[in-house]
Symmetry: C2
Subunit: 198 residues, 2 copies
Amino acid sequence: MARKQEFNTDEALHHALGAFWNKGYEATSLADLLQATGLSKSSLYNVFGCKRELFLSAFDAYRKERGSDMIEMLSSGTAREGIERFFRKIVMDAASPDFHRGCMSINQAVEMAPRDPEVRDRVTQDFQAIEDLLTGAIDRAQTDGSISSRRTARDLAKLLVLSFPGLQVMTRAGVSKNRLDSFLDTLLSILDQDAPAR
Amino acid sequence: MARKQEFNTDEALHHALGAFWNKGYEATSLADLLQATGLSKSSLYNVFGCKRELFLSAFDAYRKERGSDMIEMLSSGTAREGIERFFRKIVMDAASPDFHRGCMSINQAVEMAPRDPEVRDRVTQDFQAIEDLLTGAIDRAQTDGSISSRRTARDLAKLLVLSFPGLQVMTRAGVSKNRLDSFLDTLLSILDQDAPAR
DNA sequence: GATTTAGGGGACCGAAAGGTCCAGAAAAGG
DNA sequence: CCTTTTCTGGACCTTTCGGTCCCCTAAATC
């Protein structure tokens, strides 16, 4: 009886996500979303509801995937390797000459969180999740011996969490990969030893 | 002959600055700016030009003042005291229950920098200025002995610069002052010794 | 192939966006 | 007190915003 949907809902959602990730919420117009998804206005509204609902769906998809990615990246090899892998990945974004996206959660912490409780809650959860995952990884390192610093896992995690937005924001602002690598090298050195010989 | 301007241009600029700082560029409408400044539309356009020009003027005023503030805060007492004073001030913003503003340069690194070269240049300069000022302060500490870490001044400065956006973004996202203080305590501890006994 | 049902393109809408402009009012100088 | 100048308020304009709705079309079943 019924006709089948011609487009892939999930794909469309991810195209919309790309637009919101690049330009933020306010600066992304419906026209942008239609172009990004390739949908007609009625299809978009039928499937995703209003702009704000679409945004929240896209944001949640982003958060879910990034959470999984982070767990995966942290989990293979030694804890130290996992942590380095996680942070190196962030900086790789800066190497692409075109648009710099940074981390959408950080971007939204700046744009929407101050005036939108639903976004604020998500962002707060994300900060907490990052801290917990990093703490877990560093805890694991105390077993595998890959981190030689004598600081507590919680303290090291705090330093990493505190630096995470810095790397993401600099990436978004277009700081060169070289400079970011240098920041990251310094950051990671706090895991290895407490008084680096440089 | 001529009639005198009834309002104080600088005051009006700062009221506009407040609006842009709170809501960002896109989300601040002309109506918001008129309400914030108390000016009529024609006065605002006569004195400040279009929205974008007004924004850049306000942003530059912000940057200039924050630069002076930072120099002043870093300069009195020991270098270590100056650095702590500078960072404690950031976290104080989080104590106010109403709107959280964060650092406008960081906010703009997220919002405008990716698509606006003029904003990007300013933001890049600000990152560099913060790094240079902090490096200078830590250099000074090597003379006054207030920082006991054996890391290089440049490395310590990098860790502080990298953490600066984190504190600002968390402030803007509404993270509690307690949590921010705890992050800051950990951050400042890297200045004091390389293996804190905790 | 007819019927049924939902998808899709786009016309249409009111509101609000940023921006222009003009007429009137008010102050400073002569 | 009159003239000149410019500041001020608000009417007005165009465009774009997010959002609704309808009609035609196309597919799946019988």
